[in-house]
C-alpha cells in the first residue's frame, strides 16, 4: 500500500534491523540477497478511523453469523420437510434443505470471514524470520547413540544367541497366520457356486417356463416380436413352486445369475447356425449379465441386433451368437437353449452351457 501522502510523523517507527528488515544491497554482487524488505504499514496501522471501521466490519460479520444461526433454528422448527419452493436457477428444491443449508453456510462463513479480515487488517503483518535447524543429529550425538545401541544389543545377546534369534523371527512370522485363518468363516468356499444358475433345475422331463419380468406371465414364442427386447426370469420349478419372486430370501443372488433377455431375429439374419439351433423359431435367449464385470445389459439396437452394456460399453452381436464386437468383455454372452412345452410356452430344459457373468480363474469354458 502506498503511503506517499502521509507525513513522516504519522508513520510508525521503522522496525529494528535485528529483525532482518531493510538491509541494504550488497554493492559488488547485484544478485546477492538484500535481506528482508522494510515493513510497509497498512492503512489500518496509520489511520485510527480505518482501524475502527475494520473493527466494525469484523464485529458485523460475527453478528451476521449469530443472526444466521437464529435463522437456522427458526427454519428447522417452522418449515415442513415436504415443502418445495421454486428458486431461480435451481428449479424446485426442498425449502427446508435450502433454508437450513444457506443459514448454516452464512453462520459458518461469516465467522471465517470475520476472523480472516481481523487477521488481515488489525493483527500485525510484520514478517519475521525464524531459524531452522538441521533435522540430522551432529556426529557426536550419532556416535553416542550408535554406541548405546551396540551396548544394548550386546547385553541382549541377540547377535550371539543365534538359536533364540532365529526361532524368534520364525515365531513372529508365523503368529499373524492366526489372524488370516480367523477370516476363513467370512464366506463359503467357491466350489462350483459360480458355474450354475437356477436353470440347472430344468430337465427335459421337468422343464422350467420363462416368465416375463414385468408381467410375471409365461410367454409364447409369438409374444416376442422382431425388434423387441424382453426380460425374463425362471418360472415354477420343484425348487421354487411359485417361480422366482421378489420376496424370495435369495432373490438378489438368484436374479444376479438367472436374468434373461429374449429377442427375435428373422431367420435370414441369423449368422451363427449353432446359436440359431439353441433358439426357437428365431427367438433367442441370452444371459442378461455382461461377461465383462457382471453389469446387466439393457440397451438393444434392433436394426443391427447389437446389445450394449451401459456400464463399460461391451457390445455383443446377438445375431452372431452374442460375439463381442466392441468393448472390454472377453467372451460372448452365454445362450440358453429354449423350446416349448405341451401348452406352447417357452421353456428351458437345461442350464447355460457356460458360467454366467464375469470370468474367473476356475472357469473352464
Amino acid at each position: 500500500m502506498s503511503h506517499d501522502n502521509i507525513s513522516d510523523d504519522k508513520l510508525p517507527e521503522a522496525h529494528d534491523a535485528s529483525e532482518g528488515h531493510g538491509h541494504l544491497a550488497v554493492a559488488d554482487d547485484p544478485f546477492a540477497d538484500p535481506g528482508l524488505p522494510a515493513h510497509e504499514p497498512r492503512r489500518t496501522d496509520i489511520d485510527e478511523r480505518a482501524a475502527k471501521r475494520a473493527e466494525r466490519q469484523v464485529s458485523g460479520m460475527f453478528i451476521l453469523s449469530m443472526l444466521a444461526t437464529v435463522g437456522f433454528i427458526a427454519s428447522y422448527a417452522s418449515i415442513n420437510p415436504d415443502k418445495l419452493v421454486y428458486i431461480f436457477p435451481l428449479g424446485h428444491v426442498s425449502a427446508l434443505n435450502f433454508a437450513l443449508g444457506m443459514t448454516l453456510a452464512v453462520a459458518l462463513f461469516c465467522i471465517g470471514a470475520g476472523a480472516v479480515h481481523w487477521a488481515r487488517t488489525l493483527m500485525s503483518d510484520v514478517e519475521m524470520p525464524a531459524e531452522r535447524h538441521p533435522i540430522e543429529a551432529d556426529d557426536e550425538v550419532r556416535a553416542d547413540v550408535i554406541q548405546q545401541f551396540k551396548t544394548g544389543a550386546a547385553e541382549s545377546g541377540f547377535g550371539r544367541r543365534k538359536m533364540i534369534r532365529n526361532t524368534l523371527i520364525g515365531s513372529m512370522a508365523m503368529v499373524p497366520l492366526s489372524g488370516v485363518v480367523l477370516l476363513r468363516d467370512l464366506g463359503p468356499l467357491p466350489e462350483k457356486k459360480l458355474d450354475s444358475t437356477d436353470w440347472s433345475e430344468a430337465t427335459p422331463s421337468a422343464p422350467i417356463r420363462l416368465v416375463n419380468m414385468n408381467t410375471d406371465e409365461p410367454m409364447k414364442a409369438e409374444d416376442i416380436v422382431v425388434g423387441s427386447l424382453t426380460f425374463a426370469k425362471p418360472g415354477p420349478s420343484a425348487l421354487r413352486p411359485n417361480g422366482l419372486q421378489d420376496s424370495d430370501e435369495d432373490f438378489q443372488e438368484a436374479i444376479a445369475k438367472d436374468a434373461l433377455m429374449l429377442i427375435r431375429i428373422q431367420p435370414e439374419d441369423l449368422k451363427d447356425e449353432k446359436s440359431a439351433a439353441l433358439g426357437f423359431e428365431g427367438v433367442l435367449c441370452y444371459s442378461k449379465i455382461c461377461t465383462h464385470v457382471g453389469c446387466p445389459i439393457s440397451l438393444y439396437e434392433q436394426q443391427t441386433h447389437h446389445a450394449l452394456c451401459p456400464c463399460h460399453q461391451s457390445t455383443f452381436d446377438l445375431s452372431d451368437g452374442a460375439r463381442v464386437i466392441f468393448g472390454p468383455a472377453g467372451h460372448p454372452l452365454p445362450q440358453l437353449k429354449i423350446s416349448t412345452d405341451s401348452d406352447g410356452y417357452l421353456v428351458a430344459t437345461q442350464d447355460f452351457t457356460v458360467p454366467v457373468g464375469p470370468s474367473f480363474w476356475e472357469r473352464s469354458a
Binding site: A25, D29, P30, A32, D33, P34, L36, P37, P81, L90, L96, N97, F98, L100, M102, L104, L108, F109, I111, G112, A113, A115, V116, M123, D125, V126, M128, P129, A130, R132, L186, G187, P190, K193, M213, E253, I255, A256, A259, I289, H292, V293, G294, C295, P296, S298, C311, H312, F326, G327, P328, A329, G330, H331, P358, S359, F360, W361, E362, R363
Partner: protein, 550 residues
C-alpha cells in the same frame, strides 16, 4: 533412629512471584500436570510463511474434519443392513417397492429427518472436495519440489492418505445400496474375480457367498466408518506433526534462506487466518449442499442385479480406474481348464502401478540427482523442466483416462461415436502424455529464457524514446536487487558424469548398468536440453556497465 523425617513438604523454591491473574494461575496449574509452558515456548509464536498455495493442504484438513462431523451424524440414522423391507414413506414414487434397510434409511435421512438431506449432501460434497484438495495439494508439493529431503516420508504419508481417501470414498458411495452404487460394487466384484488363483475365494469371503449376498453393506460400513478413517486419522496426525517438525517450505525471495523461515507467528495471525479458514471452507460447502444436489439416490431406485441405468458413473476420482476398465481390450486367455481375464486384470494392476510411481518419485529423483542436502526453498516449476513435464504428463494421462471413464457421457453430449472415443483413449493413453511432457518442458525452458532476459536487460517500461538519429527504442528498467536475487537464486545442478573408462593406471574401470542409467537420466534432467544457463554476475555487469545498455 531417624524420627526427624518430616511429613511436611516444602514447595521447591520458585523465584516467580504470585500469578498476576486467574488465567495465569490456571495455566500454572495445567503446566504442573502437562508441562504446557515448554510446549508453548516452541510453538506459540511459531512462524508460518504466507502464500495462497499453502492453503490447499488446509482445505484437505478441514474437509476431513467436516466429513467426520457429518459422518457421525449420519451413523445415528443410517442402518447398514441388507435386510429387505417394503418402502412406505414420504417419497411417493418408491412406495410399495422392495428395498434394503440401508436404502430405506438413506431415503429416510433424505426425506424424513429434518436437516438430514443437508448433512448427507455436506458429507458427500466435503468428500469430493477432500479428494480434489488432496490432488491439488499434492500437485503443489510436486511441482515446487517440496517433497525433497527432509520431506520424502511426509510425501508418502500424503500419498497413502490420497489412496485411502479413494477407497473410503468408493465405500461410502456404495453404502446407500441404490441402483448406481450396487453397479459400482458389481464392477468391483468382477474385478476381484479376475484375480488369478485366489479371485473366487476373495469374492466369496468378501461377499459372504455368491454376489451380492447380504453381508457386503454391513462389512463396507465397518470399513468405511471405522477401519479406514482410523488409519487416516493416524496418518493425518503424523503428517501434521512432520509439517510442524520440518517447518514450512517457502518461496525464494529477499531475506529468505535455507536456514530460516519467514512469515507470521502462529499466535495471533495464523490462528485467526487458519481457524477462520476452517469456517470459510465449512460455510462454502454448506452453501454448495444447499444449492447443488449430489447423488440423488431416490432418483436411481434400489439396487437389483438385473437392472441398471445408463451413464453409470463413479465419483470423478475413481474415473481413471473406470477409464482403464472401459478402454482395455477384452483379452482373455483360456488354457488348461482355467481362464485368465487380462481384460480386467491388467487395468486392475495398472491402477496401483500408476499410483505407486507417484509415491516413489521423491526417491527416484533423489537417486538421480544424488543430492543429500535438505531443501526448504521451493523450486519454481519452470526451473525444474523435466519434473514439471513429468507431472504434467501424469495429469494428462489421468485426464485421458477420465475421458475414457466418461466415454458414454462424452458421446451423448458432444454427439461423437462412443467407439471412436474409446479408440482415441486407447492410443491417447500412450501418445498424449509424451506430447504433453515435451510441450511442458519446452514451455518451462522458454520461461527460463524470459527470466534470463529480464535479469540481464531489465523489465519493459512501455516508454518509447526517440534517439537523435531517429531510431525508436523502448526503455528497459533495471530490476530492484530483491527481484534480481529472487530470479537468480535457484540452483542449476550439473549432470552426473561417468568416471573415465580407464583409471590412472590404465586399467579398464567397470561401470555398472545402474550407474550408466543414472548418468543418462541425470543428463536428461540437467544436461543441455534440460535447463537454460542462468545469468551470471559477469554477464549482468557486462551489460549494465555502459555500452550496449538500452
Amino acid at each position: 533412629m531417624s524420627s526427624s523425617t518430616s511429613t511436611k513438604q516444602t514447595a521447591p523454591a520458585s523465584t516467580r512471584a504470585k500469578p498476576a491473574n486467574k488465567g495465569e494461575a490456571a495455566a500454572d496449574w495445567v503446566d504442573g500436570r502437562l508441562g504446557i509452558y515448554s510446549l508453548a515456548k516452541a510453538n506459540l509464536r511459531k512462524i508460518f510463511p504466507d502464500h495462497w498455495s499453502f492453503m490447499l493442504g488446509e482445505i484437505c484438513l478441514y474437509t476431513f474434519v467436516i466429513i467426520i462431523l457429518t459422518g457421525v451424524y449420519l451413523t445415528l440414522f443410517f442402518k447398514p443392513s441388507m435386510g429387505e423391507v417394503v418402502y412406505n414413506g414420504s417419497y411417493a414414487p418408491l412406495n410399495g417397492i422392495r428395498m434394503s434397510e440401508a436404502y430405506e434409511s438413506t431415503l429416510n435421512i433424505s426425506f424424513e429427518v429434518r436437516g438430514g438431506l443437508l448433512i448427507r449432501q455436506i458429507h458427500h460434497w466435503a468428500a469430493i472436495v477432500f479428494v480434489a484438495a488432496m490432488f491439488v495439494h499434492m500437485m503443489r508439493v510436486f511441482f515446487t519440489g517440496a517433497f525433497r529431503k527432509p520431506r520424502e516420508i511426509n510425501w508418502v504419508f500424503g500419498f497413502l492418505l490420497l489412496c485411502l481417501g479413494f477407497f473410503d470414498g468408493f465405500m461410502g458411495y456404495s453404502l446407500p445400496d441404490d441402483l448406481l452404487s450396487g453397479t459400482g460394487i458389481r464392477f468391483m466384484e468382477g474385478a476381484v474375480l479376475a484375480v488369478p488363483l485366489v479371485g473366487t475365494y476373495i469374492q466369496m469371503f468378501l461377499f459372504g457367498g455368491p454376489f451380492p449376498g447380504t453381508d457386503v453393506i454391513p462389512r463396507f460400513f465397518t470399513i468405511h466408518v471405522l477401519l479406514i478413517p482410523g488409519i487416516m486419522l493416524g496418518l493425518l496426525v503424523a503428517h501434521l506433526i512432520l509439517v510442524f517438525y520440518h517447518k514450512h517450505t517457502q518461496w525464494a525471495g529477499p531475506g529468505k534462506t535455507e536456514q530460516n523461515v519467514v512469515g507470521m507467528p502462529l499466535m495471533p495471525v495464523y490462528m485467526a487466518k487458519a481457524g477462520g479458514f476452517f469456517f470459510l471452507v465449512f460455510g462454502i460447502i454448506a452453501a454448495m449442499s444447499a444449492i447443488a444436489s449430489v447423488n440423488p439416490v431416490w432418483a436411481y431406485g434400489p439396487y437389483r442385479p438385473d437392472q441398471v441405468s445408463t451413464d453409470a458413473q463413479p465419483d470423478w476420482y475413481m474415473g481413471f480406474a473406470e477409464g482403464l476398465i472401459r478402454v482395455m481390450p477384452g483379452w482373455e486367455i483360456r488354457a488348461w481348464g482355467h481362464t485368465l481375464n487380462l481384460g480386467v486384470f491388467i487395468p486392475l494392476m495398472l491402477f496401483p502401478l500408476v499410483l505407486a510411481l507417484i509415491a516413489l518419485y521423491p526417491f527416484i529423483e533423489g537417486w538421480i540427482t544424488g543430492d543429500k542436502r535438505e531443501h526448504h526453498i521451493l523450486d519454481r516449476p519452470r526451473n525444474a523442466p523435466v519434473r514439471t513435464g513429468l507431472g504434467a504428463a501424469w495429469i494428462a494421462l489421468y485426464l485421458v483416462l477420465l475421458l475414457g471413464g466418461g466415454n458414454d457421457l462424452v458421446a451423448t453430449h458432444f454427439h461423437l461415436s462412443l467407439n471412436d472415443i474409446t479408440y482415441f483413449v486407447r492410443a491417447g493413453s500412450f501418445v498424449i502424455p509424451i506430447i504433453v511432457f515435451y510441450v511442458t518442458k519446452r514451455w518451462c525452458l522458454g520461461l527460463q529464457r524470459r527470466d534470463r532476459d529480464k535479469v540481464l536487460h531489465g523489465r519493459e517500461t512501455g516508454v518509447i524514446k526517440r534517439l537523435p538519429h531517429g531510431e525508436f527504442i523502448e526503455i528497459h528498467a533495471q530490476l530492484p536487487q530483491g527481484r534480481l536475487h529472487t530470479l537468480t537464486s535457484h540452483e542449476q545442478p550439473e549432470p552426473l558424469e561417468l568416471p573415465a573408462e580407464v583409471d590412472e593406471n590404465g586399467v579398464a574401470r567397470k561401470v555398472g548398468l545402474l550407474t550408466k542409467t543414472r548418468a543418462k537420466l541425470s543428463a536428461g534432467y540437467f544436461g543441455e536440453g534440460g535447463q537454460i544457463p542462468k545469468p551470471t554476475v559477469e554477464e549482468h555487469q557486462e551489460i549494465t556497465s555502459g555500452h550496449g545498455h538500452h
